[in-house]
């Protein structure tokens, strides 16, 4: 078993390198991904090694980046797109929703829309406006897309490869605040499937479901809660469309309490869906209503106050408290 320690950014880089080595039809496209290696250096060195025919610096037009990747997919290529920051994916929204999501259906399966749209998402890096968005709900709501998000270097390494190899379009959400976190990567064993949820910490009192950046926050909260005698089970969702209802339900049936933690604003979000789905599935197990700890219904604020906007350990613990109070 070959394991190595690396950052998530590096793990993504290595994962893409492997995908490109394995399949000559794999291309990368995005703004500044060539010589610069991307603003986060996730594609560092890849253009040098694979050439600018395969690692394509794109003119600045997100709609055309996605639109041309669709055309490349029609010709049999698999393009992993880098959108420079979450907030810049919206100009491509029409191509994603009206074309990427629908062409496999429209062509009765003739076209393989095997493209990946990499979105460095979520906040927590003190950035200016539009650089800290959590747009995943838009894509989860859209039929025809798949959405995943790793929270560890190991998952980043494997999930990017699996997403590129997948025949469906995958919106690949990268928690940018975790790019520089290091972790062990097992280079031989991918572990769970692309859309499987993983129990990161077992517990008995409350099921805490998180994804992306919030997994770390949830784990810290679990640590703190344990010190106070409350046992949190922390689930890393990994797949957002589809998400892993079974793993969440199994946990909820034991704990009777569900808390969803997300960086996105709450309304009509992934958290709403998890609550609605799990409430229906586990109605008789619920000792309290499923609750959410999320951002607020405001545009991402000036980053000097982003720590109030993004769920904190304290807010997770507060959610836990609220849940624990219900059946006492």
């Amino acid at each position: 078993m070959a394991t190595t320690t690396m950052t998530m950014a590096r793990a993504l880089n290595e994962g893409m390198r492997r995908a490109m080595e394995r399949d000559p039809k794999v291309l990368l496209m995005g703004e500044d991904i060539g010589k610069l290696g991307g603003v986060f250096r996730v594609t560092d060195g890849l253009q040098k090694d694979f050439g600018d025919d395969r690692v394509i610096d794109a003119p600045l037009a997100e709609s055309a980046i996605v639109g041309t990747a669709v055309g490349l997919a029609m010709r049999g290529y698999r393009t992993a797109i880098e959108i420079q920051f979450d907030g810049f994916v919206y100009p491509a929204f029409d191509q994603i929703v009206s074309q990427v999501a629908k062409l496999h259906k429209r062509s009765k399966g003739v076209y393989t829309m095997g493209l990946v749209i990499r979105l460095p998402y979520q906040g927590g890096i003190g950035a200016v406006e539009h650089h800290s968005e959590s747009p995943e709900a838009y894509f989860v709501h859209t039929a025809g897309l798949r959405v995943v998000t790793p929270s560890t270097p190991h998952d980043a390494y494997w999930m990017i490869q699996e997403s590129i190899a997948h025949d469906d379009p995958v919106i690949f959400c990268e928690p940018k605040s975790r790019y520089w976190d290091k972790g062990e990567v097992d280079l031989d064993d991918p572990g769970p499937g692309l859309f499987d949820a993983v129990v990161r910490r077992p517990g008995t009192d409350v099921t805490v479901v998180a994804y992306g950046s919030m997994v770390k926050t949830a784990l810290r909260a679990a640590e703190a809660a344990a010190a106070e005698g409350t046992s949190l089970e922390v689930i890393d969702l990994r797949g957002l469309s589809p998400f892993d209802t079974d793993v969440m339900a199994a946990s909820l049936e034991r704990t009777g309490r569900l808390l969803v933690v997300q960086e996105a604003p709450p309304y009509a979000s992934v958290g709403s869906e998890i609550v609605a789905t799990l409430t229906e599935r586990c109605f008789y197990s619920l000792r309290a209503p499923a609750l959410r700890v999320a951002a607020y219904h405001v545009p991402y604020p000036a980053s000097r106050i982003e720590d109030v906007f993004r769920p904190s350990v304290e807010r997770v613990l507060d959610g836990v408290d609220r849940l624990m109070e219900y059946d006492q």
Binding site: P59, A61, A64, T68, V70, M74, G76, Y77
Partner: protein, 352 residues
Amino acid sequence: MADELVQLLSPEGQRVDHPDYECSLDDTAILGLYRDMVIVRRICNEATALQRQGQLALWAPVQGQEAAQIGSGRALAPGDFVFPSYREHGVAWTRGIPPADMLRIFRATETGGWDPQRYHCNLPTIVLGDQVPHAVGYAMGIQRDGAEEAAMVFFGDGASSQGDVMESFVWAASFMAPVVFVLQNNQWAISEPTSLQTKIPLYRRADGFGFPGVRVDGNDVLAVYEVSRRALERAREGGGPTLIEAYTYRMGAHTTSDDPTRYRVDAEVEVWRHRDPIERVKALLAREHAVRSSTFEEVAAEAEAIAQALRADVLAMDAPPATDMFDDVYAEPHPWTEAGRAEVLAFAEEAR
């Protein structure tokens, strides 16, 4: 206008000299184009009739634009790939797509209609401009494959205002993509005249992006053919993109839901009737190539037979089973989609 318009055949069917282009087609080929246009018009009329009879949800007539579509479509090589919008029935015809397949989306029995890889013809794209970057991306794939092929993409004067179209121009120029943009300027975007989209001729849009633009008489099939052939060759040989503005006219309504009397005058339609794309070829064939009226009658009879077969095919075209909506949404099963399928099946079961 005259001096910027490539024309090889006058509305009266007289040959016109042009400094840069000349007709490379022989009798048989010209008769072939004539035949195509007659058949496409007949298909269009049949579809309109079918819609009137409640057999189609909608129809987008191509009448008036047959030369623009047949001339460009016939210039394509089999290996080229073409990206139509929603009105390119003539182009679809040149790719060998069965007429009934063209009507599937209009009968609302499916959202596609044919196998795009088989015919090297993408499915109709309804969102204005969305198909244009697809063509450019496809062309970038051609480059990477080192193939001598080209992509050709169709859009309208109205669609030319969409950002996606202009971003595609940027890309095509930047990557020297082997793509030919065919802008059918049929003077109208539903009720909006071309003058709302631009104050200068649309072919000149290409000037701003650094590749050639050419305006061709879109009702002159010979000119459209030659201009398209040249542009496609250029693309295949690595010369980069070309914008062709086929200057033509939508003789009918925008779609069968449209009422053009609300926004345009009959006199305008009359003017264009005298520029009919079919009549001028017929005149040429009759005069210059001594094609006999019996031949024209044969073509008409063939078109009639195709129309009748089309009618029969369409009437036989049933709604798909309800669960069709769940097929092919994903390449691999997605549990949320499959949950829907299960619900529909259970419901159907219960109802029985």
